[in-house]
């Protein structure tokens, strides 16, 4: 893969055949994906769902010592308001002195729509550079400047001469794609073009060679892996994966979320790039392979013990550490079994419906099956090839419902009403609607909880037990606050509004 000289990455519906609208079973959706016939469908009724601009911010807003300039009308990127506190506290888990979330909006108005927004962008870049002295200024470009044809790359090229900060444009106009996960490619595209580069090391300027030191560095690099984290992960998740990889003798560097500029420079001093989530990383690691010849692993997500073991073995294989890994996995699995005993009697046979990103819902289902729960439905934000390896961890799900829908709570509500699960596991953003069915709800992810690795299995188990032991809050909401859908909706097929054509 090499799109690095293009202005923008291709859209995922083109590159990967990603689909956002499908109703059927797991078997059917997997089959449709293999036959590449998912990507054209859409809906005659749809609900607001997020776009590649807002999703880009989920990565951009985590970067340390950086300022974001939202290039667009005043509302673009306003969602950052909601993460102003959490962004700061999560950054400080990595660096106690990290600053808070700072962003500017170029505030394009009626005049700019006609005459262009480049001058305002320049003013904003100069102000950000002088006022905040960040290492990096990221510039996500929204629909309006994309449509009026602002040449952001040219502005950046011009101003890069005078700013101390590295300027990173991110082309992520929301209207360009139906698959908002294209956002990850947009951000990585900017990072690859502007931030990944060979570090300048003092050692490289040595007059006399120091062979021993060179060997030490080579050895260290040969044992270092870049693990690509995602914004929805917690610090506890990172510590758990680091613990496991350290246990088989590897060093870990986390990228890209919550990283500073220097982390991307050292990214090239590593033996392997490891993805945690295929949906998130393929664009980056494929490019790191084609541009810098760093091998990679992209397979499953380490959620659930089978997925975690599979993930570890894929990494171990590269370093010929399978034996050590087998020992580790065996010990971890045994201890986890003991720890989970207390929850099994309570959760055995309970049913669950999971909604959210395709990778996480399928992987989290492994934890639930491990606990003796029964999976009766999925709703995935989109569908593409990256869910395939994760399915290997599940048993008997061929006939389980799989709805491909980015958010779209109306379909979820219909399905949940039919399927009557005991637990709903859901993506953030639809709480007020989900609550009105009175079920206990486990957030599918949360950057302050542990979900990954062995400790993640335990933590999810104990939270489900806790949540299911008292669902009064949602029950009372359901008793008093009606859902907005007409009674006739519940009699209709949940996939009534899916159209085969775009």
């Amino acid at each position: 893969m090499n799109y690095i000289h293009e202005k923008t990455p291709p859209m995922r519906e083109e590159r990967l055949g990603t689909g956002i609208a499908f109703g059927g079973t797991c078997r059917e959706v997997r089959c449709a994906q293999r036959e590449n016939c998912l990507n054209l469908a859409s809906r005659s009724f749809s609900q607001t769902q997020g776009c590649q601009f807002t999703l880009s911010l989920a990565m951009i807003n985590t970067l340390r010592n950086a300022v974001t300039i939202m290039h667009g009308p005043i509302g673009c990127g306003a969602c950052s308001t909601g993460s102003v506190g959490t962004s700061q506290s999560f950054k400080r888990l990595r660096d106690p002195n990290a600053e808070g979330l700072i962003w500017l909006n170029t505030n394009l108005n009626e005049v700019d729509v006609i005459s262009g927004g480049e001058e305002k962008l320049k003013e904003a870049i100069r102000y950000a550079d002088k006022e905040f002295r960040p290492e990096t200024i990221l510039i996500p470009v929204s629909c309006v400047p994309a449509l009026i044809g602002d040449d952001v790359d040219a502005v950046v090229a011009e101003l890069q001469e005078e700013t101390a900060a590295v300027l990173v444009p991110v082309h992520c106009a929301g209207f360009k794609t139906k698959a908002m996960a294209t956002a990850y490619d947009d951000v990585y595209h900017g990072i690859l073009r502007k931030m990944v580069r060979k570090p300048e090391r003092l050692e490289d300027r040595r007059v006399f060679p120091d062979d021993l030191d060179d060997l030490r560095r080579k050895y260290r690099d040969s044992r270092t892996v870049n693990v690509l984290n995602v914004g929805s992960m917690s610090r506890q998740d990172e510590l758990e994966l680091e613990r496991l990889l350290n246990a088989i003798g590897l060093k870990v560097r986390y990228l890209p979320c919550y990283s500073g500029a220097e982390d991307f420079r050292y990214a090239l001093e590593s033996a392997l790039n490891v993805s945690i989530c295929g949906t998130h990383d393929d664009y980056f690691i494929e490019h790191m392979k084609s541009l810098y010849d760093i091998p990679f692993v992209i397979d499953t997500i380490p959620i659930g013990r089978k997925n975690t073991a599979r993930w570890l073995f894929q990494i171990a294989e590269h370093f010929d550490l399978q034996e050590e890994t087998a020992k580790l996995v065996e010990t971890e699995s045994r201890e986890l079994d003991k720890a989970l005993e207390q929850f099994r009697p309570y959760l055995q046979g309970k049913t669950a419906f999971l909604g959210g990103g395709e990778i996480r819902i399928v992987a989290t289902a492994e934890i639930l099956q491990d606990l003796g729960m029964k999976i009766i439905g999925f709703k995935g934000h989109h569908y593409d090839q990256f869910a395939e390896p994760v399915f290997a961890s599940l048993e008997n799900v061929d006939d389980v419902i799989f709805d491909v829908a980015t958010q779209q709570p109306f379909e979820q509500i219909n399905l949940v009403k039919r399927l009557k699960p005991d637990l709903y596991v859901g993506h953030t953003g639809g709480g007020n609607i989900s609550a009105k069915q009175g079920l206990p709800l486990l957030p599918l992810f949360g950057p302050s909880y542990n979900y990954l690795g062995y400790s993640g299995v335990f933590d999810v188990a104990r939270r489900i037990r806790r949540l299911m032991s008292n669902a009064q809050f949602n029950k009372k909401i359901a008793q008093h606050c009606p859902l907005p859908y007409k009674a006739s909706w519940y009699e209709k097929d949940p996939f009534t509004y899916i159209k085969k054509e775009g």
Binding site: G50, P73, G75, G82
Partner: protein
């Protein structure tokens, strides 16, 4: 908009967002968003958290109906897609009013949303369209655009005027976290002096209040900025005059407000004076409680106030005239039309305490710190320095870093208020003055 430059951490979003949260505040009014897929979700995330976790309510957040236009519609036009979305929304959603609102892209390509909506004139529930292009205004403007649209196309025309009915505007849902508490309090007081009040968003109100808004004989705009345009449209379409009075915070301002409203409403002066007497007595019964602690440990403070055009003047004056504090800097953080600035400056005159802050108009969060040196001569390392201390900062959550840097307490009340849960609290009226006093002094006794 006068100031057309970038904004450092804007304390507002766009017209579409303002319109969406105004609809969110109306009972069973359902927006149909004609925009890109991310607009609704983005704006929900902003005002949900920013307005103290307002939530999506009946049919908001990811439940908002939205056409989610993509490149194909931008190239070929989005009217057909909108037509389909209105039809399916009417199919699915149980609402009493459907309002098409728009994002930038469909406005730039020139979709005629009013024409599309008019195709549904025969539907059981009304479907109207209110264009809300976000390059033409921010969320405060979106409130005005939406209400203007409703006054034109939804409010019944030609109803008989009632002398005892008044409309109340100026508190913007989704921007003012306390809008419902504030409207409820002011409405309570106007009811006490004998009036029926339509706030449209208040406790127990329905779309009926809006539809019959043309019965009112006066509109009171509780703001020097927000709601004025909507009130002017209401006057033009329904012949209802309007007056603008500042949002009153605390006993002194509220009594003043009631007297001014009473004159405009031709209310019975004896009743008004009796109500003021009773309310002030009740207020000071509570207020008196802090007379001990205030004086025992010296709770007078300097203050820095950063807030929108409603809160910054009202809170500053409350601090000076009732709490006996010394506001030294007030920053009004809105994007304002030039002509509003002298009106707002006027609010910082004629105070009983005769102590005034330096008043600045600036939308940039980073600017506030720069004004401190102007508001108070910095200590140049003198041995004996009269420092700017003790001080309390009243603003938004964007002031958290500044408060931490200065080592002073912060009370957040102006957008965004992501560090508080806001339900039925109010900062307006008599009850609002008590609430503000309690919240402010709580920051000072929290360690006791």
């Amino acid at each position: 908009m006068s100031s057309s430059k970038f904004v450092d951490r804007p304390r507002f979003h766009c017209a579409l967002g303002g319109a969406l949260f105004t609809l969110r505040a109306l009972q069973k009014a359902i927006p149909i968003i004609h925009a890109s897929a991310g607009c609704g979700h983005n704006l929900f995330s902003a005002s949900n958290a920013g307005a103290g976790y307002l939530g999506g309510g009946y049919c908001g957040g990811t439940a908002w109906s939205s056409t989610n236009v993509v490149e194909r519609e931008i190239v070929f036009g989005g009217e057909e897609r909108l037509n389909e979305q209105i039809r399916t929304t009417l199919d699915l959603i149980d609402g009493d009013l459907f309002v098409v609102v728009t994002g930038c892209m469909v406005e730039m390509i020139g979709d005629d949303v009013r024409a599309v909506a008019s195709g549904f004139a025969d539907s059981e529930v009304p479907v109207i369209a209110v264009p809300t292009p976000s390059f033409k205004g921010n969320s405060y403007d979106g409130y005005d655009m939406l209400l203007s649209g409703l006054f034109r196309d939804y409010v019944t025309q030609g109803l008989k005027k009632r002398a005892d009915t008044v409309n109340l505007l100026g508190s913007v849902p989704g921007q003012d976290a306390f809008y419902k508490g504030n409207l409820t309090e002011i409405s309570r007081l106007l009811q006490r002096i004998g009036f029926r009040v339509n706030t449209f968003f208040g406790e127990g109100e329905t779309l009926d209040n809006l539809q019959k808004a043309s019965e009112a004989s006066l509109t009171i705009v509780l703001s020097d900025v927000y709601g004025l345009k909507a009130a002017a449209v209401c006057e033009e379409v329904h012949g209802i005059p309007y007056i603008s009075l500042p949002l009153p915070v605390g006993a002194a301002q509220t009594s003043e407000f009631l007297r001014a409203a009473a004159v405009a409403l031709k209310a019975d002066a004896t009743t008004v004076e009796r109500v003021i007497r009773e309310e002030e007595a009740r207020y000071y019964d509570y207020f008196e409680r802090i007379a001990d602690i205030y004086n025992d440990v010296d709770l007078q403070r300097y203050a820095i106030v950063a807030g929108d055009a409603n809160y910054a003047p009202a809170v500053s004056r409350f601090l000076a005239d009732e709490l006996g504090w010394l506001p030294r800097l007030a920053v009004i953080t809105d994007l304002l039309e030039e002509e509003r600035i002298p009106v707002l400056q006027q609010r910082f005159t004629g105070w009983e305490s005769d102590t005034y802050p330096l008043v600045k108009f600036d939308t940039d969060t980073s600017a506030i710190q720069r004004y401190l040196a102007e508001a108070w001569e910095p200590n140049h390392n003198e041995r004996y320095a009269d420092t700017f201390s003790p001080t309390v900062l009243i603003g938004s959550v964007f002031e958290r870093d500044l408060a931490a840097k200065l080592g002073i307490p912060l009370l957040t009340l102006s957008f965004p208020v992501t560090n508080r849960i806001v339900l039925n609290q109010t900062y307006a009226g008599y009850n609002g003055g008590l609430g503000l006093t309690a919240d402010l002094l709580t920051t000072l006794v929290a360690g006791r």
